[in-house]
């Protein structure tokens, strides 16, 4: 028998408990403004196309800015030359292309910051003396590629210039490559397949010319010799990237074909850092994860989905995929941009479910994620149908949601621009496209629309991709990892199951982002904002003792910089904040047009005499 007093007390407590649980949920839903896009800045806030334009030719020397020289016949149009130009443009450096080495002498009043030598365009039999003369001017010289081992063997002056003591083997087999610590950000990495499972990742070169180096050289990347050569000391392994310093110059050499792709971007930045005591350069500081063609709001592909997951497509997405994906990205602190496709098939009777759409948009809002639109690779006629249908879906369900980012794979510039004129995509300011090995990673498509290229396929890990990712992170503090869900949600008989896709993606994403915890994670729109600021800023720095004074031009908001110091530690940053990336590397956020970095006294010993 319960007394009335007790009954009342129990009832009150039950109400209280009910209220406590329901109130928080109610408030969360009440304030979840899922119908708007928090990342959609107004056009006035957005940095318009103010990317720094770099000069070339005679103007490159005259304007007083840092400049680079590329030596090699046809280098202006070669892949190597384009990548160098891209690298220069990111850091506001001018560029001069020199076809004929004999005709070039560095301007003594304003020496180039770095000289690139594209060996593919140089006849060493004729120009070795000129190259030697240019190298001996005291500049930092980068041999983007090397001539054949025979050429080097026959040309003692060239081999001496490169710090090569002996050609051990013209074309030696290697079973992997070691990237040493301190060169690219992210630390040491061994690209060696230790078992059969790892062999599928091995896509780096397996044959290199094997050179023995002179004293005075420093190796940044080296091959691991094949067992057929017997026991070799570590320092005698085939060298891939090295530095050789003589009394006059600092010479870098790349004994591989990395210079022909964006993989070289970080290598050049790291070489410049190695040539100097410390270096500070602007970076984007943004890492984004993009889920393409996910989620979809219509129940399609029912037969396949039930066969695989015993669920309909929407159920599988909600009950299986979403918990996995959101759990993984939350753990890594990543903000995901979901390039949604309201439906996969526009010819069947299945239509997008409004409840599903609302459900996901609420979740995006709760997680700080963003929704974009994916232009699934459809025919033009179907594309038009899709845009109309999708516009209808969004207009009816989330009329105030401005789609500011979209994903389109393998499109041309004109096609993309035409898409942006549609009602659905009129607010888009960021177009995400697939990676291109030699094209710019980001650029303006129009005065206010940028194009960002993804850097990694979340399912396509390989050693070369990892190396490329490290290089781009080093140069730009930028990465963009995609996960294309088409094969999962519109599978055929050979498509992998979600569990396999998830396992692979989880491992790869951790590999891509794990070493760069210091860099911010953003949605595509957040990345776009950072990219615009990055392209607008030019920085120059002067070191005086333990102080580095950095002056910025074109910076109006927060901008980001990487400072690499060869082990020195930052004491304070006046005019900004900093955080450590790794030993000797710091990420600095500048809030003013000028900031000063004070380094700790390297000589300070714990016990003094």
């Amino acid at each position: 028998m319960v007394s009335r007093r007790n009954f009342l007390a129990i009832t009150l407590i039950m109400f209280l408990v009910l209220f406590m649980f329901q109130f928080s949920e109610f408030m969360k839903n009440f304030y979840n403004d899922y119908g708007t896009n928090p990342y959609a800045d107004s056009d006035t806030v957005l940095t318009q196309n103010t990317a720094i334009q770099t000069n070339d030719g005679a103007q490159a020397v005259a304007d007083g800015n840092d400049y680079a020289v590329v030596i090699g016949s046809g280098s202006a149009s070669s892949d190597t030359g384009r990548v160098i130009k891209q690298w220069c443009s990111y850091y506001g450096k001018n560029i001069i292309y020199v076809d004929d080495p004999s005709s070039y002498s560095p301007a003594s009043q304003h020496m180039p910051e770095v000289i690139f030598i594209d060996s593919a365009g140089i006849n060493y039999a004729r120009y070795t003396e000129d190259i030697e003369r240019i190298v001996n001017t005291g500049c930092t010289v980068i041999f983007c590629s090397l001539p054949s081992a025979d050429t080097i063997k026959a040309n003692e002056r060239l081999s001496s210039l490169l710090g090569i003591r002996d050609v051990v083997h013209d074309n030696a087999a290697i079973k992997g490559i070691r990237l040493f610590d301190g060169f690219l950000l992210g630390g040491e990495k061994w690209y060696i397949a230790n078992n059969e499972k790892e062999e599928k990742y091995q896509d780096m070169q397996t044959k290199v010319a094997w050179y023995a180096l002179k004293a005075g050289s420093k190796v940044y990347m080296a091959g691991v010799h094949d067992d057929m050569y017997g026991e070799i000391a570590n320092e005698d392994e085939p060298c891939i990237i090295w530095r050789y310093r003589n009394d006059k110059s600092c010479i870098f050499a790349i004994n591989a074909d990395y210079a022909q792709s964006n993989t070289a971007l970080g290598i050049y930045s790291a070489m410049l850092y190695e040539a100097e005591g410390s270096i500070i350069y602007p970076v984007v500081n943004s890492q984004s994860v993009i889920a393409v063609n996910y989620p979809s709001f219509a129940d399609e592909n029912s037969e396949q989905m039930k066969k695989r997951y015993s669920r309909t497509m929407t159920e599988a997405m909600r009950d299986i995929i979403w918990p996995n994906l959101s759990g993984l990205t939350n753990r890594l602190g990543a903000k995901v941009t979901y390039m949604v496709t309201p439906q996969y098939n526009y010819k069947d009777s299945a239509c997008p479910d409004a409840d599903e759409l609302e459900y996901y948009f609420r979740l995006f809002r709760e997680n700080g994620d963003e929704a974009g639109w994916a232009a699934y690779n459809l025919q033009d006629s179907t594309m038009r149908q899709k845009i109309v249908a999708d516009y209808d879906t969004f207009r009816r369900n989330v009329p105030d949601y401005r789609l500011v980012s979209m994903y389109i794979n393998a499109s041309g510039r004109d096609k993309t621009m035409s898409l942006l004129k549609t009602s659905l995509l009129k607010d888009v300011r960021t177009v995400v496209t697939d990676y291109d090995a030699t094209d710019r990673l980001f650029t303006y498509l129009s005065s206010n629309v940028t194009e960002l290229r993804t850097t990694n396929d979340g399912l396509g890990y390989s050693y070369m991709n990892d190396f490329k990712n490290r290089s781009i992170e080093t140069a730009l503090g930028y990465s963009s990892v995609t996960l294309d869900m088409t094969d999962v949600l519109a599978p055929d008989d050979n498509s992998p199951e979600w569990s396999d896709v998830y396992e692979s993606f989880a491992i790869n994403l951790d590999g891509y982002l794990g070493s760069y915890g210091a860099f911010d994670k953003n949605t595509v729109s957040g990345t776009d904002t950072r990219v615009r600021r990055f392209m607008a800023v030019r920085c120059s720095s002067v070191r005086d003792g333990n102080e580095i004074r950095v002056t910025l031009t074109g910076a109006h908001d927060e901008t980001y910089y990487v400072l690499r110091t060869h082990g020195e530690k930052i004491e304070s940053v006046n005019g900004g904040t900093f955080k450590k990336i790794e030993d000797g590397a710091y990420l600095i956020m500048a809030q003013q047009q000028e900031f000063t970095v004070k380094l700790k006294d390297a000589d300070a010993l714990r016990y003094t005499n």
Binding site: F180, E235, D247, T608
Partner: protein
């Protein structure tokens, strides 16, 4: 923190640690046994037991090759616990043993509190509060006792504080300001102790390792680096040498403060040759062994006193279970430790015992004394030599310097030496020959330790002529004398000149006659007291015992005078005079104190008032202080140079602190080779220079650690071998010279060192240009620079640049 401050903290810590393990802990266990003894006697007992216990635990475990931190702690605690348990069990029923119950109760209470703290049953604040309360209870009593002692012995405390301050002033300052080893022996001892880390005792052959055992114990159990111990333990050792001297003199004198008069003169007066006390600037085995000579002598003297009482009182039923036996045990343990630590100490202990034998001759030869003494001496010799004997039985050869020492005694080896190294000499005979040649040429062989740089000492520099030693060439004079008178006169003159040259800081008129007169006075007084033994107790003194002690001290003085003058007399030298004079100066302190004590005792006896004797001895002590200042005899702090720059030690300390173990290498000449054991690796610069200058086309030098430190002396040390250009800076001229050729350490002597350092310096400058970010200056001062090279262990730099 400055290195000086660190060194002071290390010195303080090691002093405290050594005091706790050799005096404090034995005191906890044995205070009940010796409660009724004099404080000085108790101290000696604790000290003897502490040192003997630790020394022989290490010996035992090392000989079984199982010495490590766990076994060392387990053995030390376990044996003590076992002994305690046996003692408790022998007393009867355990449950009724109050002491045991009390101890167990305390342990259980402590463990309960600890358990509660760890389990979170009591809060952290409560735990800390209980801990402090417990500590306060335990140590409060001790502190109160100390305060009470100071209050009741204010004058003595003040005198002791003066002596301590004097020691800190004279010796401590040098330890605090100059960080490196002062003697070239120390790297060798360091090496032997390092080998003990690998259970390889007697690494270079069988040698008295008692001192090494103590250092090893502190290193292994408490984790103190051996190089730190060898740098600063010398101060603790020296302090204890003076304490032992003070306690011994207090033990044999009858006035309260006479000992302070002698000790203050010895510690604070600038009258002795620097070489008589310079060895106190290092933690050397011979000096460590000195700690056990005087306790052995004291226990021997006490034996005669106590045994006499026992015989008089007929306490002979329990043949061995009498007090005098415990004194013999004390004597045996200390005598054994002199054997275990350094044979020279055994020789001196033997000479002192001979003095006692003469002083107590009227009892010594009686069967009731002699039998026990013979058995004790035999036991002591066996105990002392047993570890070495076991090692020999295990197949270890004798260490070279043992043979050298024996040859010195037999007159087969050179008498000329430095005070620095016997082991090094053996290790490098060629160098020794060079030194002997040099010594013969300039007659200056006593200027040894810390090298030949002792000229930098202001005191040494101020009186160079008086500091010169002329050890080698006077002995033959006596053979030319015709008659006995002439012979004696010649001997007298030789002894006198020898004392002036080798023992005194400057010539003191009538020093030898004064010493002889003092000895004669002591002997005469002693003999008179023995003759008139009916005055058995004058003012409470045992006249017979005191008289015998006086005769003993007089005999010791004469015997030591003979020992130190053997070469002057043209006789075979039992001991290198560089070493003998250290002991002789030590002994003179005893003689001096006794001479002060005699009139005090006599006057006190005449007036039958003990306070008169104490007052007079106090007056003597105060007079010593006043006269010291009045005649400007106060010693200045030693400012000897070292065999390593301060910068080098500073760097080593920082390197060990900054880096993970075994990730770095030091390229240096040369003491770091042993110092960095257990932390990093060492590379010889001579190897480096040789390889770099080889003509091989593909020459390559790689050092396979992530960090490589290059020590370069910009102003190279002479390392015991001054040359015409001593003190010059490294130069291109030096770098252009040919690479020195030689074996062992000889390539780092004198000018060779300058050449190697010059080559290293210019190599480093060039390498820094090629690797500006990888090769940086880690430390630099006017005399020394340390470069740090950071390299990739998987792709080492070829250091063989042109």
């Amino acid at each position: 923190m400055s290195m000086t401050m660190l060194t002071i903290l290390q010195m303080t810590g090691i002093f405290a640690l050594y005091s706790v393990i050799t005096v404090g802990i034995p005191a906890l266990f044995f205070h009940g046994k010796v409660r009724d003894r004099r404080a000085l006697e108790r101290f000696m007992v604790y000290f003897t037991i502490g040192n003997f216990y630790i020394m022989h635990i290490v010996f035992a475990l090392e000989l079984m090759h199982i010495a490590n931190r766990i076994t060392l702690i387990t053995a030390a605690v376990g044996i003590a616990a076992l002994a305690y348990i046996i003692k408790v069990l022998r007393k009867g029923k355990v449950s009724e043993n109050e002491e045991l119950n009390r101890v167990l109760g305390r342990i259980i209470a402590g463990l309960t509190v600890l358990h509660k703290g760890l389990e979170g049953i009591i809060g952290f604040k409560t735990f800390v509060k209980m801990l402090f309360r417990s500590l306060y209870t335990q140590f409060g009593r001790l502190i109160r006792k100390i305060f009470s002692f100071v209050k009741n012995n204010l004058i003595e405390t003040l005198l002791f504080a003066t002596l301590a301050a004097c020691l800190v002033w004279v010796y401590g300052k040098n330890y605090a300001n100059l960080y490196g080893y002062a003697f070239s022996d120390l790297p060798v001892h360091n090496y032997w102790i390092n080998a003990m880390d690998e259970n390889n005792i007697f690494a270079a052959g069988v040698y008295p390792f008692g001192y090494h055992c103590i250092i090893f114990y502190m290193h292994k159990v408490f984790g103190i680096d051996t190089y730190v111990l060898l740098r600063v333990f010398g101060f603790t050792q020296t302090f204890y040498i003076y304490i032992m001297l003070l306690l011994f003199i207090k033990g044999i004198c009858r006035s309260r403060y006479a000992a302070y008069a002698g000790c203050l003169v010895y510690a604070g007066y600038d009258i002795y040759n620097l070489e008589c006390t310079r060895r106190y600037l290092g933690a050397l085995p011979q000096e460590y062994g000195m700690l056990f000579i005087l306790p052995a002598v004291y226990f021997a003297i006490k034996f005669f006193e106590v045994r006499k009482t026992e015989i008089d009182e007929g306490l002979l039923k329990k043949k061995w279970h009498v007090d005098s036996s415990w004194y013999l045990v004390g004597f045996a343990l200390n005598f054994a430790m002199t054997i275990a630590v350094h044979f020279y100490d055994t020789v001196i202990a033997g000479i002192f015992c001979a003095g006692i034998m003469l002083g107590f001759a009227f009892r010594f030869f009686r069967p009731r004394y002699l039998g026990r003494i013979v058995v004790t001496v035999l036991a002591a010799v066996i105990i002392g030599a047993l570890p070495m004997g076991i090692a020999v039985a295990q197949g270890k050869p004798l260490q070279g310097s043992i043979g050298w020492g024996i040859n010195v005694i037999l007159g087969k080896a050179s008498q000329s030496s430095t005070t620095s190294s016997d082991v090094n000499k053996e290790a490098d005979k060629k160098v020794q020959e060079e030194k002997e040649t040099k010594a013969a040429a300039d007659g200056n062989t006593g200027n040894a330790a810390a090298g030949g740089n002792s000229g930098s000492s202001p005191t040494a520099g101020s009186k160079p002529a008086q500091n010169s030693n002329s050890g080698g060439n006077v002995g033959g004079n006596s053979s030319n004398s015709a008659g006995i008178t002439a012979l004696l006169t010649g001997a007298y003159k030789n002894i006198d000149s020898g004392l002036t040259a080798n023992v005194l800081r400057f010539r003191i008129a009538y020093f030898l006659p004064a010493v002889l007169a003092c000895a004669a006075l002591a002997a005469l007084t002693g003999i008179l007291m023995l003759i008139f033994h009916r005055w058995r107790y004058v003012a409470g003194y045992n006249v017979t015992q005191y008289g015998a002690v006086l005769v003993s001290v007089a005999a010791m003085s004469v015997l030591m005078l003979v020992l130190v003058s053997l070469k002057r007399l043209g006789l075979p030298e039992l001991m290198d005079y560089n070493r003998a004079r250290v002991y002789y100066a030590y002994l003179l302190t005893i003689l001096m104190s006794v001479i002060v004590d005699i009139p005090c005792v006599l006057l006190g006896g005449v007036f039958r008032k003990r306070w008169i004797a104490n007052l007079l001895s106090l007056a003597a002590g105060v007079a010593v202080i006043v006269l010291g200042f009045g005649y400007n005899l106060v010693r200045q702090p030693f400012t000897t140079s070292r065999l390593e720059t301060n910068g080098a030690i500073t760097c080593l300390t920082n390197i060990i602190h900054d880096n993970k173990d075994n990730t770095w290498t030091i390229v240096s000449a040369n003491d770091e080779l042993r110092m960095l054991y257990g932390h990093g690796y060492h590379y010889e610069p001579i190897t480096f220079v040789h390889l770099r200058e080889s003509k091989h086309d593909n020459r390559s030098i790689t050092i396979n650690t992530e960090y490589v430190y290059f020590y370069v002396e910009k102003r190279p040390l002479d390392y015991l071998h001054p040359y015409a250009g001593s003190g010059q800076m490294v130069s291109e001229e030096g770098a252009a010279r040919g690479t020195p050729v030689g074996s062992g350490i000889t390539v780092y002597y004198g000018e060779n060192r300058w050449v190697i350092m010059s080559k290293m310096y210019y190599w480093a400058q060039k390498f820094m240009k090629l690797y500006p970010d990888e090769m940086t200056v880690y430390y630099e001062d006017d005399e020394f620079v340390c470069y740090r090279l950071k390299q990739n262990p998987y792709s080492l730099y070829n250091l063989a640049i042109d």
